[in-house]
């Protein structure tokens, strides 16, 4: 955008540049204002929960008039809330492991397929992104009912893994596409068998993609509601499900505390992982 303006100014050096400047400054100011507005629109709903979680009233009225940490105390002392957080973390971590392993393997396999096979297989693996979640949820419910997986940990992990897979396959495939194929040949001719090439060359070089996939897998699982609502049981209920149940029963601000914690956990994960990925990329260059 700015390139034409720059050449413009450079080629017409004889024309005094001063009169153009204020105009440009106004334009830039408008751009900033607009960007700030969009940014606010995007994050405001999320940020509202932070002050709400520190309210001293038994209501979700915004803005809060007094402050306290009682809803956090309540969160950790109430067994249903604490248990649901623990369930979410368990399901999230297991989903991360399964989806990352399976998704990375799938991406490696996809890279070896011919163009037609790749389009087909990729389409199938990406389906969970495209098919409406509610449809997947109903189907999952029916299947889990039949196989007695409703409300079980393996059930949750299986269901979340399906949703998380595309988010692993996409970044790992992108990393693989950027990998020089000759490196694998070079390793092989140096005496490395297939497994050694995979472990010592391919995986370390696509690690940033795998890491970002793992992160997306965790986040996908951690805030999944629709399918979880269908397959929950009183014994196994993830945090978002517990929150949804809570808000339909009462307006207990504990939900705001829970939301704030989800926000903090996911955001810090993304920040840490991006920092690590950046470091790795810099290292590899």
């Amino acid at each position: 955008m700015s390139a034409p303006t720059v050449t413009d100014g450079a080629t017409r050096a004889s024309v005094p540049a001063a009169p153009r400047k204020p105009k440009r400054r106004v334009g830039r100011g408008l751009l900033w204002a607009f960007s700030a507005l969009v940014a606010f629109w995007l994050v405001a709903p999320a940020l509202v929960v932070i002050p709400l979680s520190f309210t001293d009233k038994q209501s979700l009225a915004f803005p809060p008039t007094g402050w306290s940490t009682r809803w956090y105390e309540n969160f950790f002392s109430d067994p249903t809330w604490a248990a649901s957080l623990w369930s979410s973390i368990q399901v999230g971590l297991l989903t991360t492991v399964v989806a990352t392993v399976v998704g990375t393997a799938a991406a490696l396999g996809l890279a070896r397929l011919g163009p037609r096979g790749q389009t087909l297989a990729r389409g199938a693996l990406m389906a969970p992104i495209i098919v409406p979640v509610i449809v997947v949820a109903v189907g999952t419910y029916a299947l889990f009912l039949r196989f007695r997986l409703l409300g079980t940990l393996p059930g949750f992990v299986a269901a979340h893994t399906v949703l998380a897979l595309p988010f692993v396959i996409i970044p790992v495939s992108a990393s693989l596409a950027g990998l020089d194929r000759r490196l694998q040949d070079a390793a092989a001719i140096c005496g490395a068998n297939r497994w050694a090439v995979l472990r010592q060359i391919t995986l370390p070089l696509v690690a940033p993609g795998i890491l970002s996939g793992a992160l997306f897998a965790f986040v996908t699982s951690f805030d999944e509601v629709v399918i979880s609502l269908f397959i929950q049981s009183p014994y196994l209920r993830t945090l978002p499900v517990q929150m949804y149940g809570s808000i339909t029963r009462d307006t207990d601000p504990t939900i705001a505390a829970a939301a704030t914690m989800i926000l903090v956990i996911t955001t810090s994960l993304v920040v840490v992982a991006s920092a690590v990925a950046l470091r790795r990329i810099k290292h590899a260059r």
Binding site: L183, D185, A186, A188, I189, C190, H283
Partner: protein, 378 residues
């Protein structure tokens, strides 16, 4: 060069080696033998099948048909990591997440060489390529020439019997190429390994090789030493691809001990070559031709009329482009000592001895006006 890096070179035998990609034929049945310890170069235009052949030797791609033996053993079913081959790639292919020392140690680790021995060999290999003291650097912190030296060290550190190089100097500038050429030649001489080297740069091929295999369209046109290829080309393609040449086309018939070739404005005797009937091309190298100012009477012996179109002074001599009777172009080189008075625009006689003329079958594939372009298009 320390003795640890030396290896007995293995022979490589290709018999009817063929590679098809669907309907496309990349390599169309090659017969070739690299002798133990030899420096053999694959020379040929782009797309002629050099890389494909090399990759089959390395085991990166499957063989469609034919035999491939290393040291007399068929290796078709061996994966690359079991072939005991070293390879240097055009784009270096160093592992970016490892240091220089780790890169060079990589093949030794795969072979479970014990740590102390490993360190010693890595040091020796890096010293052999003139890179001592760079152990801790990452490949990204090295210049192209240095990266290729590391790649070379990585390929020789485990003393493979065979070293393959696919245009290893292709990504480097002229000057660096000359330096590294000398080093590669020296390393070859010291190691005793069989080298198979791919290039499309004929000067490089001439400078390095014991023998050169000239590739064209998936086949080998000729295999021989640089002298053999230059002095006794067996096909028009070879004559044109390697070095400069003047080509005279006509029909051949035996005449005494020599072959007489007659065509439009051409009537010459060729004393060499094995072709004495049918469509023929006579090849004469540029320094074998003497220019004589045009007179009405043809000089005795082989003489072809022409007109000088270009006259380039080269310091140590001159290079002249001549337009021949059939409109094609010939090339003549004169040393400073033997300069004629002919200049651009002059009518001349091209004279040469029958012993310097090689008669070859004219397959019609040649385009005498632009030798190198013809090579590339073929």
């Amino acid at each position: 060069m320390p003795a640890d890096l030396q290896s007995g070179g293995a022979s490589i035998t290709l018999r009817g080696l063929t590679k098809h990609y669907g309907d496309a034929v990349a390599v169309a049945g090659i017969d070739l033998e690299a002798r133990p310890g030899e420096f053999l170069t694959f020379l040929g235009p782009s797309g002629s099948g050099k890389t494909t052949t090399l990759n089959m030797i390395a085991g990166f791609i499957d063989v469609t048909a034919g035999e491939l033996l290393i040291d007399g053993q068929a290796v078709h079913s061996l994966p690359p990591h079991k072939r005991d081959i070293g390879m240097v790639f055009q784009q270096y292919a160093l592992f970016p997440h490892m240091t220089v020392a780790e890169n060079v140690a990589y093949p030794l680790k795969q072979r479970k060489v014990e740590k102390g021995e490993r360190g010693r060999l890595v040091t020796a290999a890096l010293a052999a390529v003139g890179l001592d003291g760079y152990d801790a650097r990452r490949p990204s912190e090295l210049s192209g020439g240095q990266q290729q030296r590391v790649a070379l060290a990585r390929a020789i550190v485990y003393s493979p019997q065979v070293l393959l190089m696919d245009e290893p100097l292709g990504a480097l500038d002229r000057k660096l190429r000359d330096t590294l050429q000398l080093e590669i030649k020296r390393i070859h001489a010291e190691l005793g390994t069989t080298f198979v080297y791919v290039t499309h740069d004929q000067e490089e091929a001439l400078a390095l090789s014991d023998r050169i295999a000239v590739f064209n369209a998936g086949r080998i046109e000729q295999v021989g030493t640089a002298e053999e290829l230059y002095d006794a080309p067996e096909t028009v393609f070879c004559a044109q691809f390697l070095g400069e040449s003047t080509l005279l086309q006509g029909t051949a018939r035996p005449d005494g001990g020599a072959t007489l070739v007659e065509g439009p404005g051409v009537r010459v005797h060729a004393g060499r070559g094995h072709h004495s009937a049918g469509a023929a091309a006579v090849v004469v190298r540029p320094e074998r031709i003497t220019l004589v100012p045009a007179t009405d009477d043809a000089p005795a012996g082989n003489a072809v009329r022409g007109r000088v179109t270009e006259d380039v002074y080269l310091g140590n001599g001159r290079k002249l482009q001549i337009e021949l009777p059939d409109g094609s172009a010939g090339t003549v080189r004169e040393t400073a000592a033997a300069r004629s008075a002919c200049r651009s625009g002059d009518e001349v006689w091209l004279t040469f001895s029958a012993d310097d003329a090689v008669v070859l079958p004219d397959d019609g594939a040649s385009a005498p006006t632009a030798p190198v372009a013809a090579g590339a298009a073929a």
